[in-house]
């Protein structure tokens, strides 16, 4: 397959396995490009992209912006904090105003699940979902799988554990879809209050004991404790969370196998993961960040080639 089956990247759920394969193969080439002394290609010089962030983000926005600039696209940035959204403008109006300035693609982060899907039905531009509430964060899941493939050779057949706040996590949901689509087995682990009910219906194992879960898996993806999304108390205190679900050296030594450790960032050091683990050879956290740029270049390049 040489082109994506979709016009927008709204979620992993809407992709086919061949799409993921194509994105990875394209990202391989871009990874080589971003390691050259001149890290830029002129492919998208006639494309303008708006990064519209209704929610705070540092690395995702930087990663997208860098990816766009490496492809020579023109970039405009918009964050809701300094905008007319505060004055009561609707989402469609905001985006249509931006599109009137001849923008071809929109990268959007929004606190409401489904915001990207809604927008794709009302405007004429290619949309990349950079996170919509607790729904999906497709580029993060793609870069996570790409990093696993890079370290372990393939994703299929691997056992991947996602630890932490599964309930509020778009990273978890997108990862579950992406990993299963590539033939990996997925388990989730965390306090029962942070595991969504009926998550087994997605074909995911649930494990409440971290040590047992670590003994099972090849890869452990440690999610951040998202205090900002927690409107009530889901566990007694951070210290108890760390004792039960934090990854530290002792725990890793007890498992006594070559685990790959991941984290989508930003890390709460000493909460979900200790520094000695985060900075160890097991960790591919910084590879994830580097791969994020290559994956986003691939996604943008492939979607832009469908804009006629």
């Amino acid at each position: 397959m040489s082109e994506l089956s979709v016009e927008h990247l709204l979620g992993i759920k809407y992709l086919k396995p061949a799409d993921i394969q194509l994105i990875f193969e394209t990202a391989d080439h871009f990874k080589e490009v971003i390691n050259r002394s001149i890290k830029k290609v002129p492919s998208l010089r006639d494309i303008t992209i708006a990064n519209i962030f209704f929610e705070n983000s540092t690395r995702t926005r930087l990663s997208f912006e860098l990816a766009q600039k490496r492809l020579s696209a023109d970039v405009i940035n918009f964050s809701a904090a300094q905008s007319s959204v505060k004055k009561g403008e609707t989402l469609i109006d905001t985006v249509n105003n931006i599109l009137s300035m001849k923008v071809d693609m929109v990268v959007m982060r929004h606190p409401n699940p489904g915001a990207g899907i809604f927008l794709s039905k009302h405007i004429k531009a290619s949309i990349v979902n950079a996170g919509d509430g607790a729904h999906e964060h497709p580029t993060q899941a793609l870069l996570d799988s790409f990093s696993i493939r890079e370290r372990l050779g393939e994703v299929g057949g691997k056992k991947v554990l996602i630890v932490g706040d599964i309930l509020h996590s778009r990273v978890a949901l997108s990862n579950i879809y992406a990993l299963q689509m590539q033939g990996a087995e997925v388990a989730v682990c965390g306090p029962k209050t942070l595991i969504p009910k009926h998550i087994e219906s997605l074909g995911v194992r649930v494990e409440l004991d971290l040590d047992k879960a670590l003994a099972w898996c090849d890869v452990a993806n440690m999610l951040r404790v998202q205090n900002e999304r927690m409107d009530m108390s889901y566990f007694p205190n951070t210290r108890e969370y760390t004792m039960l679900y934090g990854l530290n050296k002792q725990r890793l030594d007890r498992v006594n196998k070559e685990l790959v450790i991941m984290h989508p960032g930003p890390i709460n050091r000493g909460v979900e993961i200790t520094s000695d683990v985060a900075d160890s050879d097991h960790s591919i956290i910084l590879n994830q960040v580097e791969n994020g740029v290559a994956i986003r270049m691939a996604v943008i390049y492939l979607l832009a080639s469908k804009i006629k």
Binding site: L4, E25, E32, V33, R36, S37, I38, K40, K308
Partner: protein, 191 residues
């Protein structure tokens, strides 16, 4: 369907043979000798094959230079997909191939190698792409088949295997023993 034969060769299913395996063998040796004649040695000269079809030709030349003339030649492969000027003009997404240039090209003499020179647009893209790898002393172009009268840009090869006059809807198909089972060059009639 093409009904005439070229220089007594067979014509099958709208394609006529332009060069046989033996002719290709002779031409490749001549090109290798011309490279050697112009450069004398390959200490400061590197060969770069263009993906996807120039790489086989480049590998052949390196092999001849090594086996028959004991020359060690640095060889790289360059993919120009992201530098092409027809992105979004073609119906299909342009898919890339691997770029592998494991040396610096700063102050080197670079010989770009491609199988067929047609409009010259690929070479234009390659010249831009090469800038990402340094500032070469000089860039030359070697091409096995030079399609005359079809250039869109002022680009001409220093080394050419065979110059041919082909009309626009005809395609030059280069086949290599390693990948296609035989060495042969055909002109294919694409209505």
């Amino acid at each position: 369907m093409c009904s005439f034969a070229y220089r007594g060769m067979t014509s099958i299913m709208g394609q006529k043979i332009l060069l046989s395996a033996q002719e290709i063998h002779i031409i490749l040796h001549r090109l290798a000798c011309q490279l050697l004649e112009n450069h004398l040695h390959f200490k400061d000269t590197v060969l770069i094959g263009l993906q996807p079809r120039g790489t086989a030709l480049a590998q052949r030349l390196v092999k001849i230079l090594k086996e028959d003339y004991q020359q060690e030649v640095s060889l790289g492969f360059l993919d120009i997909t992201f530098f092409r000027d027809d992105f979004r003009r073609s119906d299909k997404t342009l898919t890339a191939n691997k770029t592998d240039i494991p040396f610096l090209i700063d102050d080197k003499k670079v010989v770009l190698i491609d199988d067929v020179l047609f409009t010259g647009r690929s070479i234009r893209a390659a010249l831009t792409a090469l800038q990402s790898f340094g500032r070469p002393d000089k860039i030359e172009l070697l091409t096995l088949i030079d399609r005359r009268f079809s250039r869109h840009l002022p680009i001409q090869p220093e080394y050419r295997g065979r110059q041919v006059d082909v009309i626009n809807h005809e395609k030059v198909k280069v086949m290599w023993a390693e990948t296609d089972g035989q060495d042969a060059i055909y002109i294919v009639n694409e209505p």
